[in-house]
């Protein structure tokens, strides 16, 4: 998976995940709390800069992921910016039109709310992307342990992460095997093959789960998946960058 590859291969890989998480969460919370489009757009630029210039995640990767998320966000906020009504608009509108009996129009207020929503969301998303692209899940699990998150939750997180890849492997193998035998040659065959794949994937995954349990027991499993914590390096540069970013966001809020 693309995100996983960069999470393991970026320049902040060995930086303490607590620092990366703190920077990301601080920016995310400020985007939501300040509710200032300029501060949120600054957060977008700032987190992109940290990811690209400091962590050395390729621009096209960061931009590509953000673009995909932005498209989804834009579609979701269309409902806020555009009003559809059977009655003609009573307030002053920026534009209006009708499709059959339905009035479609946009107001300055609706557009403003949509812009605020998109900017808050995109700033917060950039902060989360920074964390996802610079911090492998294994580091986040280690951080959860340091924060004394309950063992059961940590074990479920780690196991689901591992199981996701096993599930994908199984899916790919079964899908290829079906394709080789013309399983997707027509719409009808595709539906049948997909149904078979879904059912068998569940059974295979269940069997794999049972074998994993045996293997864990063989290595002395007694209810907790205990592993060694990873070793991290302090990174004062990122801490300074984080403080500058947070201060700048607060400054923008005060000035505007």
């Amino acid at each position: 998976m693309l995100i996983d590859r960069f999470a393991y291969g970026n320049r902040l890989r060995h930086t303490d995940p607590a620092l990366k998480t703190a920077v990301s969460l601080a920016v995310l919370v400020l985007c939501l709390v300040l509710d200032t489009p300029a501060a949120s757009l600054f957060a977008l630029g700032w987190m992109s800069l940290l990811a690209v210039a400091v962590a050395r995640v390729p621009v096209r990767v960061f931009a590509g992921i953000l673009l995909g998320e932005s498209t989804f966000l834009a579609l979701a906020t269309v409902g806020i910016a555009v009003t559809v009504s059977v009655a003609p608009p009573s307030a002053e509108t920026l534009w209006r039109g009708h499709i059959g009996a339905l009035w479609v129009f946009g107001t300055a207020n609706g557009l403003s709310v949509a812009a605020h929503t998109v900017s808050r969301a995109i700033g917060a998303t950039a902060a989360m992307n920074f964390l996802a692209l610079t911090t492998p899940l294994v580091d986040l699990v280690a951080l959860m342990r340091r924060l004394h998150v309950p063992d059961a939750l940590i074990d479920i997180t780690a196991t689901v992460y591992r199981a996701t890849f096993l599930l994908l492997d199984n899916f790919n193998q079964m899908y290829t095997a079906q394709q080789c035998r013309l399983g997707y040659i027509s719409a009808r065959r595709s539906m049948q093959s997909a149904a078979l794949l879904g059912g068998n994937l569940f059974i295979k995954t269940f069997q794999k789960g049972k074998r994993l349990q045996l293997a864990l027991d063989a290595r002395g499993f007694e209810g907790t998946l205990r592993v060694l914590p990873a070793q991290y390096r302090p990174n004062p540069v990122l801490a300074v960058w984080g403080i500058i970013g947070v201060t700048a966001m607060l400054g923008i809020r005060i000035l505007l």
């Binding site: 591992r162 293997a215 864990l216 063989a218 002395g220 007694e222 592993v227 990873a230």
Partner: protein, 253 residues
Amino acid sequence: MTFAFEFSNVQFRYDGLSDCALCGLTVAIPPGEKIAVLGRNGSGKSTFFLHCNGLLRPQYGEIRFGGKPLSYARADLRQLRRRVGIVFQNPDDQLFSASVGQDISFGPLNLGFSSAETEERVRQAAELCGVTHLLDRPTHALSGGEKARVAMAGVLAMEPSVLLADELLSAIDPWARLDIFDILQTLYDRGTTILLATHDLSVVRYWATYVIVLQKGKIAFSGTPAQLLQNSSVLEATELSKIWWNVDMTVEE
């Protein structure tokens, strides 16, 4: 001589199946040997291994380890699993952790070792298995051969005196096999008893110092490779003669 394992008339049947997986299995495993465990699919090799590790309990019969009957109390099982390690056929069934280093550390931590001791064991096991450079790598990003070596390191970090390897060689390329054999030889030189379930008869001819042949949940033969090669009636009865064509059967005196 105290045997590593002694199975006396052990019987086991899986739920819902009419045939027994182990049907009165009786065998003594000599310590410090490189033992090839042969048998067709379904002959009971994996079930035999799971019994050795205490993962399955015999429904009838007795198993002795180091001369003492196996106990299934939690503390005794922990001791057993400390001394008897098992590497499964498919490494993906064994690797659960997100990173290689963490996966290897799982066994020693379960045995109650401190973080410092565990780190040292991880380092030694990784070095022995040639996976030191992979310690930070996610387990899903490994090749088949690397997964096999990491799975082995995860077991060797527990420093077992008996290693069970269940068809470990079946899904890896010949070069990765050479790596595995190097690791096994190092363990053998240190005195570890190794049981390797395999369909590869060249393993019997060129690697093993002792052979066990399973057939329908029973022992069809146990002895040295030379004894097996010279025993045409066993070779015929176990149908090994049908697949022996690519192995030099000359027995050195």
